[in-house]
Amino acid sequence: MIRSARFTARLMLLPVMAMLVTGCWNRTEVNDLAIVQLTSFDWEDDQYRVGVSFPLVSQMSGTQGGGGGTGGKEGQNNYLESAKAPAIRDAINHVQRKLSRRLYFAHRRVLLIGETAAERGVKPILDTLSRYPENRISTYLLVAKDSALGLMQTPVLTERVTAEMFREILVNIMKEPVTARDFIHAILTEGVDAYTLVFKRTKTDAPDEDKKKADTVEIDGLAVFRDDRLAGILEQPFLNGALLALGQLKRPVVTVDLPEGRGHITVQFLKMTSRVEPVVNGDDIRMILTISGIFEISSNETDINLIHYENHDKATKAIERQIQKEVSAAVGELQTRFKADVLGFGSSVKRNHPGVWKRIGDRWRDLYPKVPVEYRFNIRMEHAGTLKNPIHHKAGEY
C-alpha cells in the first residue's frame, strides 16, 4: 500500500512538473480570437499599411440570432482594420491595439501584396511571415493590382468570407496555386524567378444598370518577379500561354479555328504537363519546352468528322500550333520584356549541366533573354466525343 501511495504521489508530481516546464499557459477561447482570413500589405507614404480581414462569426451562423437568411447586406460579415507603420510588425501591432480580439493568423488563407509593396520587394513581408509558426507559409500569396487593401475590401456575395473567393478561384484555375512557401523557395533557388497571379477588383458583367452590378474580384495577369521585386505584370492576353508553359493550368481548354471546316473546335485537356530541358553545346544553350497531354473534344462546331484518322491528326496539329502561338508569345514576353526566368530555364541548366552552370551562372541574367526556345508536343486525343458524328452530320454520311 505504501508503494502504491508513493506511486500516486509521483503521478501527481507529473502534471505539476509539466506546469513548471512548459511555457506560458496559453489557453484561449475561440470567442477571444479574430480568425484572420486575409492580410494585405501596401506601401504608402514610405510606410507599410497592413490590413487584416476576419469574419464576424456572430453574424455568420444561421442558428444564432434572427434565424435563417445570410447576413443579406454585402460584405457585412467581414471586419476590416488596417494600420500604418514603417515596419511591418509594428503595423500589425497597431492593428492589434485597435481590436478587442487577438489576431489569430493560423487560418489565414491568402496574403495580398499591393503592387507598390511588391515592387519594393517582398523579402520584409516574407521574413515577418516566416518567423512565427502561427503564420502558415502554406498561405496563398497574391499580388493586388493597385492597392491590396482596396482589393481586400471587395465585398463578395458568393462566399461567406472574401478569402474564400480568392482561394476558390485559384484552386479552380491552377494546379498548384503559389503559396508563400513556393515563393520563398523560388527566391532562394538559383535560376528560377518567382511568379504569382494578380487580382483586381471589378464589377460583375451582367446587368446594365450600374447599381445592380455587384462587386467581385478577377484575375488580371501574372505577376512576374525578379529576385524579390515585382518586375511587372504579364497582362491577360499572355496569361493563358504563360500558365500553359508553366504547366500550371488545371484542365486547360484550347479553341482552334479550322478554316477548312468553317468553324471552331474546342478541346479540353484531361492531363497536361510541361517540361523544360536544356540542350547545351559549348556555350550555346537552347531550351526545349515539351508539352504533353491528353485531350478530348468538348465541342466541334465544324463539319469535320474527327473519327477519321487524318482529320484527327489535322485537329491535333492545329491545336499544337495554337498552343505554340500562345506559349511562345508569353515566353517571349517573359524573356525580353521582364527578363524574369519564371520557367526555371536557369535551374534546369544547373541541374542537368552543373559544370556549365558554374561557368555561366553569374552571367545568366544577361544570357537568359537570348536563349532560343524550341517547342515540342506530345499530345493526343483520347476520344473524339460520345456522339459518333457531330449532330449536324447526316446519319450514314462519312
Binding site: L11, T63, A106
Partner: protein
C-alpha cells in the same frame, strides 16, 4: 463446538425451540401416533416445498413407514449445526424418537424467478435464456451447454451469517492449474458476514482493487459463461445472484459481445472494429474537443472552426466548464433514468433531451457543438458491451477532460500514457490485462481486433489457455463441396 443430537425427542425439540425462537417462518411439526409423539420435523415455510413435505415426508411418517420417506436426497445428521444449516437451505429435518440422528430430507422448493431473457445483455441472435437467482438452476444452465465430466464445479460456503453457496466452475482439462489454485485460495480467504451479490466476491478476489478497470467479466448469459469456460477461464457462481463472474479477463475481451461469435465473421469483425473506435471516442472525444478548442484552434479546418466559433460566440462559459457541465448533467440524467420505473424514465429522458439539450442551446448557455460532442460520447459509451468497462471509461474521461483543459493535447498525451502504462501493468489472475496487444501475440490476432472465421480459430487464447490450446484438431478443410478434395 458441535451440539450432538439427543436420543430423547423432547429434548431435541426443546433445544430447537429455544434456538429458533421468535422465528415465525420456522415450522416444527409434531407427528403423533396413538397419542404419543413419535417424531417431528422442522422446515422453513416458503423455502421448503410444502407439497413435497406433505406427500413424501408427512404421509410416510404418519403411516410409521420410515423407509418410505422418499425424496431425491436423504442424509443423516448427527449434530444440530448440520441440521440448522440444512434447514436454512430449504431442507426439512426429521427427528425420530430414540434416535440420535436426524434425517435431512431434500425438499427444497419455494418460489424463485423463472429463467427469463437476460435484461442487461440482450442479443438479436443467440440464446434467450439468462441466469436467475437460483444457484442450482444456474449451474444446470451451464451444464446443459457443456455436457462433459471435465466441467468441474467446486462448492464453497462463504459468509458467516448468510452461508452463501459459491461455486467455482472450470474445465479441468483447459484451465491453468495455477490460476485455479489461486482462485481457490482467494475464495477461501474471504471472511465476511454476508455475500449478497457476486460483486462482493469480485472485490475480494480481484488483483488490483484500486484500478479503475474491471478485472472480472460478469454475465447473465449461460452461453457467454460456457464460452469463457471453454476458453480456459474459471467462473464463479454465487447463490442469489444472476451474475456469474469470470476471470482471467483481458481488456480487449471486455470489448467483445457474444453476438460477435454468432453473426457471420465479417459482420462480427466490422462491429468489433467500430466498437474499438467508439471506445476511444468515449474516453477521449470530449477531452480532444476541449483541448483543440482552447489550445489548438489551428488544427480545425477553417470552416469548421468558423461554425463552432459562431455557435460559441454568446456562450458565457469557457469550453472546459461548458464541457464539464454537460458531461456531468449527462451522467446525472443517465443515473436518474436507470432506476426509475420505465414509465417515469421516459419522462426523465424527455426532460433531459428538451431542457438540457434544446433549451440550454437556445438560451445560449451551452453551445450546440458541445451537445453534439456529449451525445456522441454517450452513444460511444453505450456501444461498449460490458457495462463495467463502459462505466470505468466514463469515469476516466473526467480526469482526461481536466487534463485537456489545463494542458491541451499535451495533457491528453499525459493522460493517455498514464492509462496505457497502468493497463500494461494490470494483471487479472496473472494474465496481462492487455494480452494480445502487450505482450503482443501474433497467435491471438484471430480473435482480437477481428473475429476470424470459426474455421480459422484453431487455437484458444494463448494468454489464458496455457495448457490446452487446441480448439480444433482438423485444420481448415475448405468450404463444404468445394473442389480440390480427393474425389
Amino acid at each position: 463446538m458441535k451440539t450432538s443430537i439427543h436420543r430423547r425427542l423432547e429434548q431435541n425439540r426443546a433445544w430447537l425451540e429455544e434456538r429458533l425462537q421468535r422465528n415465525f417462518d420456522v415450522v416444527i411439526q409434531d407427528i403423533e401416533h396413538d397419542g404419543k409423539k413419535t417424531a417431528f420435523l422442522v422446515y422453513i415455510e416458503g423455502m421448503a416445498d410444502s407439497e413435497a413435505i406433505s406427500d413424501h415426508v408427512m404421509a410416510p411418517l404418519l403411516r410409521q413407514e420410515w423407509d418410505h420417506i422418499s425424496a431425491s436426497q436423504r442424509k443423516e445428521a448427527e449434530d444440530f449445526e448440520t441440521v440448522l444449516e440444512a434447514v436454512f437451505s430449504g431442507n426439512s429435518a426429521v427427528f425420530l424418537d430414540k434416535s440420535d440422528k436426524a434425517m435431512i430430507v431434500s425438499v427444497r422448493g419455494g418460489t424463485r424467478r423463472g429463467v427469463e431473457e437476460p435484461n442487461s445483455e440482450a442479443v438479436i441472435r443467440g440464446p434467450r435464456e439468462g441466469f436467475i437467482e437460483n444457484l442450482r438452476t444456474n449451474t444446470a444452465l451451464v451444464r446443459f451447454k457443456i455436457k462433459s465430466p471435465n466441467l468441474k464445479m467446486e462448492s464453497f460456503t462463504i459468509g458467516t451469517e448468510t452461508h452463501t453457496q459459491v461455486v467455482l466452475a472450470y474445465m479441468e482439462d483447459i484451465v491453468d492449474p495455477g490460476v485455479l489454485k489461486e482462485a481457490r485460495e482467494r475464495l477461501q480467504r474471504i471472511h465476511i458476514d454476508g455475500i449478497l451479490e457476486s460483486g462482493y466476491i469480485e472485490e475480494f478476489i480481484e488483483d488490483n482493487p484500486y484500478s479503475p478497470f474491471p478485472q472480472f467479466q460478469y454475465t447473465e448469459r449461460p452461453d457467454t459463461a460456457a464460452a469463457q469456460l471453454l476458453e480456459g477461464r474459471f467462473a464463479v457462481f454465487v447463490d442469489g445472484s444472476p451474475f456469474v463472474l469470470m476471470a482471467p479477463v483481458t481488456f480487449m475481451e471486455l470489448l467483445q459481445a457474444s453476438e460477435d461469435y454468432y453473426e457471420r465473421f465479417m459482420i462480427g469483425s466490422m462491429i468489433r472494429i467500430l466498437r474499438i473506435l467508439f471506445m476511444l471516442l468515449a474516453l477521449y472525444l470530449p477531452a480532444i474537443y476541449v483541448a483543440v478548442m482552447t489550445y489548438h484552434q489551428d488544427m480545425i479546418p477553417t470552416h469548421l472552426l468558423l461554425s463552432i466559433a459562431a455557435a460559441r460566440e454568446a456562450i458565457p462559459f469557457p469550453t472546459i466548464v461548458e464541457a464539464l457541465i454537460m458531461e456531468v448533467s449527462f451522467e446525472a440524467l443517465r443515473e436518474a433514468s436507470i432506476r426509475l420505473p420505465r414509465t417515469i424514465g421516459q419522462a426523465v429522458s424527455i426532460l433531459g433531451a428538451l431542457v438540457v439539450g434544446q433549451a440550454a442551446v437556445e438560451a445560449g448557455i451551452v453551445s450546440a457543438p458541445i451537445v453534439i460532442v456529449v451525445s456522441l460520447t454517450g452513444i460511444a459509451s453505450f456501444t461498449i458491451p460490458r457495462f463495467n468497462l463502459a462505466i470505468s471509461l466514463r469515469m476516466l474521461r473526467f480526469p482526461m477532460m481536466i487534463l485537456a483543459g489545463v494542458f491541451g493535447l499535451v495533457g491528453i498525451v499525459i493522460g493517455m500514457v498514464l492509462t496505457v502504462t497502468h493497463l500494461a501493468r494490470l494483471r487479472s489472475f496473472g494474465v496481462p490485462y492487455l494480452a494480445g496487444l502487450a505482450p503482443a501475440s501474433s497467435k491471438d490476432q484471430h480473435d482480437l481486433f477481428i473475429r476470424a472465421s470459426w474455421r480459422r480459430q484453431l487455437t484458444r487464447n494463448h494468454a489464458i489457455a496455457h495448457r490446452n490450446r487446441k480448439r480444433m484438431s482438423v485444420p481448415d478443410s475448405g468450404p463444404p463441396g468445394s473442389p480440390g478434395g480427393s474425389s
